[in-house]
């Protein structure tokens, strides 16, 4: 079966990410919003099927035969001009047109069960820093979809919050206070640049390169921090004032224009992670309807 892209907007293909290669200078990459990505897979009963990460604009496709799809995000979804519920899995019939329009700047995830994407180093993710993985999706692109089984009629029992206004972080290893209110100046999969009137202490731009990680809050000499995101480089030479907790990393993709950075304890980070995993594992309700075609 063939899937054809009618309109692409700004869309990449992403999955869990590329694990085990950081020491070779290869970022983990993967879905910017791992929570929405995982929920979309859970709706289908799959784990790591590659997703379309729709960042901006209108995304539209059709398939040559029936397909099962799941969509998670803050978006309007239409099938042949009829509005359908987002955060569900459903069957798309042959030649029907599926249209997705994001409502805000948070990415929306569409998973088509059985989609075939060539993996690079174990992952179908596009790494925008190193240009690894599949090219950005464009109108006219076609994908093969293999017959498979997936859940139809699943839905999310918990409403997702797409307006993140707080990021929690563990302070250190270097000692610069970055807490308080910030505006986001620029967001990409590589990093989020922050701004505000009152500058923090200047960091160094010339440290001996050391290993970086997504969530690291770098403070360059300008005093204008950058929070590293999924495609950020594996090493860097800027001062790191803190690291956003892993339970909040998906919020980098959901940030509102004005938000705050709040330092927290390791205990807080641990509880937040347990809570998030509990929420995700209980988020999908499915009436056990299997869709096969």
């Amino acid at each position: 079966m063939t899937l054809k892209i009618i309109q692409s907007g700004i869309t990449l293909i992403e999955d869990q990410g590329r694990y085990g290669f950081r020491e070779m200078g290869i970022s983990r990459s993967g879905a910017f919003d791992q929570v929405s990505f995982r929920l979309a897979n859970l709706l289908l009963g799959t784990k790591n099927e590659p997703a379309f990460e729709i960042i901006q604009g209108r995304f539209e496709l059709e398939t040559s035969s029936n397909a099962v799809v799941a969509i998670v995000g803050n978006a309007k979804v239409y099938v042949d001009s009829n509005i359908v519920s987002v955060n569900t899995s459903f069957q798309l019939l042959a030649k029907q047109r599926l249209l997705i329009e994001p409502i805000d700047s948070s990415p929306t995830y569409l998973v088509v069960a059985g989609i075939q994407v060539t993996k690079v180093l174990g992952s179908a993710s596009r790494d925008t820093l190193s240009s690894l993985g599949p090219d950005a999706v464009l109108a006219g692109d076609q994908f093969e979809v293999n017959p498979t089984t997936a859940l139809i009629g699943s839905f999310l029992s918990v409403k997702q919050e797409y307006q993140a206004n707080v990021l929690h972080y563990i302070p250190g290893p270097m000692n610069i206070d970055v807490s308080g209110n910030w505006s986001k100046e620029r967001v990409s999969r590589i990093g989020v640049r922050l701004n505000r009137e009152e500058r923090v202490e200047s960091g160094s731009g010339n440290l001996a390169s050391f290993p970086m990680m997504p969530g690291a809050i770098q403070v360059p000499p300008s005093g204008q921090p950058v929070i590293l995101a999924v495609d950020s480089g594996t090493t860097g030479g800027y001062t790191v004032a803190g690291v956003v907790i892993e339970a909040d990393l998906h919020k980098l993709a959901r940030l509102v224009d004005n938000f705050s950075l709040e330092p927290v304890s390791l205990q807080y980070a641990n509880n937040a992670k347990l809570q998030l995993e509990k929420t995700i594992s209980g988020a999908v309700i499915n009436p056990n309807q299997m869709g096969a075609w």
């Binding site: 200078g25 050391f210 594996t234 690291v243 907790i245 390791l266 641990n270």
Partner: protein, 210 residues
């Protein structure tokens, strides 16, 4: 072993080493913490543990058990055939007030060691194995370019700030280009080992006469 140890995010520890090279102790740390990911920086190590916790005490108490690898025979050695015809070769020679032949002899005389792979996939930061070597001290006088190039060709061999590197693919870069090699440093289709080099490996450059 002396080192500064600090918490780095919820699962990692940053170790700032004093007087020892990260690559000489990285294997020892990996043996001590088999479930953790150990990555090297130029004079640091970062250990990422599976679980969220303050691991600084654990790492501090392990420092006494760390063994150092000092002998060069314990590392893999790669020879990179290089044509010394880089765009910045002449400028570098002028700055150091040496001939082209002399510069080549310095660069090929140094045994380099991969301090870390970073910046881009497969990009090796090479430091002199013996930083007190006369040739190494001399080349260390060359800083990075004031204005980085928007595009450095694949296989470019370059030097800056006492280090050397080979660009595994075409990318922006601020190092002084002194030569080029046909050696492939990064191959995405090699799933087992996409990067030719790893931290700790030794590298020697050999002049390829055109």
């Amino acid at each position: 072993m002396r080192a500064q140890v600090s918490q780095y995010g919820e699962r990692s520890v940053l170790i700032e080493l004093e007087q020892v090279k990260p690559v000489s102790v990285i294997d020892s740390f990996r043996l001590l913490f088999p479930d953790a990911e150990v990555r090297s920086g130029l004079n640091t190590l970062v250990i990422t543990f599976p679980e969220i916790s303050d691991h600084t005490e654990l790492v501090l108490s392990a420092l006494s058990k760390v063994e150092t690898v000092e002998s060069s025979t314990e590392h893999r050695t790669f020879v990179i055939a290089t044509e010394y015809s880089g765009e910045d070769l002449e400028t570098v020679c002028q700055k150091l007030e040496i001939t082209r032949a002399k510069l080549i002899s310095f660069h090929t005389a140094i045994t380099w060691q991969v301090a870390l792979i970073g910046f881009a996939p497969g990009f090796p930061y090479l430091v002199p194995f013996d930083e007190n070597q006369e040739e190494a001290k001399l080349l260390a006088q060359i800083p990075r370019l004031e204005v980085p190039r928007a595009k450095v060709p694949t296989g470019s061999v370059a030097i800056a700030s006492g280090m050397s590197c080979v660009y595994p693919s075409s990318m922006p870069g601020g190092w002084n280009l002194i030569g080029s090699t046909e050696q492939v440093l990064f191959d995405v289709n090699n799933h087992e080992n996409p990067a030719l080099l790893q931290a700790g490996d030794l590298v020697r450059f050999e002049e390829l006469k055109s």
